[in-house]
Symmetry: C2
Subunit: 119 residues, 2 copies
């Protein structure tokens, strides 16, 4: 029942593609993450995923189109849809998704984070 | 699969205590709402509720304490806990909660919104 200050939490994140759990409710996680560079195409078979841009901007690539996301914009990627975040510069993002969500979805690679830290 | 611009959506909201649905994922709703004044004490027996301050500030009153929330801070109110938002001035808030959540929880009164509009 304590409040969370986003700026304060973001200041503790010094790496990329490594989501931290900032809140939990109704089986869902609120995660904070910084992106920079290109991620990998992946999908989540059972989870929709929300990306809310807190600071900066990035592009969400689908197989057939790209959506540019700026500060204070959000995007919901439906389950089953392949996607890849690409950030030219550092961007801070809040994620809402089921606690079961693996960051690389159906892939297992060097980006995969099985255990997330809380922040 | 379209992005949502928060500012643009907020500019369409001209009343208070009337949440709009801005997104849906995993059985949860992302809602946008403006508060001003005092709401009523209520609780949600089966839903945790997240309040994220987009613009402005407000206070969340519990029966035994009050938490001041400012821009870019969020609070998760656990199910079963009585709470009342109070805003001295207009505040814009994003809610994240199960689609089943009724705004006045266990109460039925003039604030109750059974049907929410999408925005």
């Amino acid at each position: 029942m304590n409040k969370v200050n986003i700026e304060e939490k973001l200041s503790q994140i010094h790496d990329y593609w490594n989501p931290r759990i900032a809140g939990e409710l109704n089986g869902q996680h609120v995660k904070l993450v910084k992106f920079k560079g290109e991620f990998v195409f992946h999908k989540h078979d059972n989870e929709d995923e929300m990306f809310y841009v807190l600071k900066g901007s990035f592009k969400m690539e689908y197989r057939d189109k790209t959506i540019a996301l700026n500060e204070n914009e959000f995007l919901i990627v439906p389950r089953g849809v392949e996607h890849r975040p690409v950030a030219d510069d550092e961007v801070s993002v809040m994620l809402f998704e089921p606690a079961s969500t693996l960051n690389t979805g159906d892939l297992e690679n060097e980006y995969t984070k099985h255990e997330l830290s809380s922040i």
